[in-house]
């Protein structure tokens, strides 16, 4: 696994931010799903197109510097800001906009929301 491809992740209906272009590399290869109930279909699609490794954040933990992109299903308060704060590109499957106590970290170049699998395309 050394051959990673890049993807473009655009905001879906009602979403905000992005588009993000994500290309994993040998050190940052995790497609980190922090959604509960396993790997979210959006994370699955990003992993399939890039060659990155799907990783369930609720089953084990990973250092931030190994995460290529974090996929969350956040309603707008907590997770929405944590990963951008750590400079990890973040994809929310719900159509949220910057809000909550961590809103200051949520910028278009690191966050995109309302994303469905079809909003993830080869770059």
């Amino acid at each position: 696994m050394g051959d990673y491809k890049s993807v473009r992740i655009a905001a879906g209906r009602g979403g905000w931010g992005g588009p993000l272009v994500i290309q994993p590399n040998s050190t940052r290869n995790l497609i980190y799903s922090v959604t509960g109930g396993g790997i979210h279909p959006v994370a699955q699609r990003i992993a399939e197109l890039t060659g990155g490794e799907p990783f369930d954040g609720f089953r084990s933990s990973a250092p931030f510097d190994r995460i290529a992109v974090a996929v969350i299903d956040c309603g707008g308060t907590a997770r929405i800001g944590v990963y951008p704060m750590k400079k990890v590109p973040t994809v929310d499957v719900h159509p949220t906009s910057p809000a909550g106590p961590l809103a200051m970290f949520i910028k278009e170049d690191i966050f995109v929301s309302g994303v469905k699998p079809e909003n993830v395309t080869e770059a």
Binding site: G36, F64, G75, V82, K86, A99, G100, P101
Partner: protein, 126 residues
């Protein structure tokens, strides 16, 4: 007929929780949550996780009882799948964000390890 929808015991309280409480917010996550969420979260280990919640329910933290005024569309999924609850003491009768559970505007208690939280209600959640 009042039912206990959810009951849990606090296992750890993140260092940033008091800052969130100052903003009238308490964030809960089950203790299976990734480490990066621990700083601002109240971590807990549920013993009852029967259903989501609805307007009119009571959220009890130790000796403090709060009435639920509004519930966002994602609150049930968050609670049952992740033990995740965003409790906001904002007095909102319409939840501003889909993950919100809003109670009356009041000072929120700061839980401690060993604190008990439970949610009771009489109506069937929608």
């Amino acid at each position: 007929m009042e039912v206990t929808r959810y009951a849990t015991e606090v296992t750890a309280v993140g260092a940033l929780v008091p800052d969130f409480v100052e903003q009238q917010i308490l964030v809960f996550f089950s203790d299976a949550a990734p480490e990066e969420l621990h700083d601002f979260s109240v971590l807990h280990h549920p013993t009852v996780a029967k259903s989501g919640l609805t307007t009119g329910d009571e959220v009890v933290i130790d000796g403090t009882t709060m009435r639920v005024l509004s519930v966002g569309d994602l609150a049930e999924q968050n609670l049952l799948a992740l033990g995740h609850l965003n409790l906001k003491a904002n007095g909102a009768s319409q939840a501003p964000l889909p993950g919100d559970v809003c109670v009356e505007a009041r000072a929120l208690p700061i839980p401690r390890p060993g604190s008990k939280l439970w949610i009771t209600g009489t109506l069937t959640p929608p």
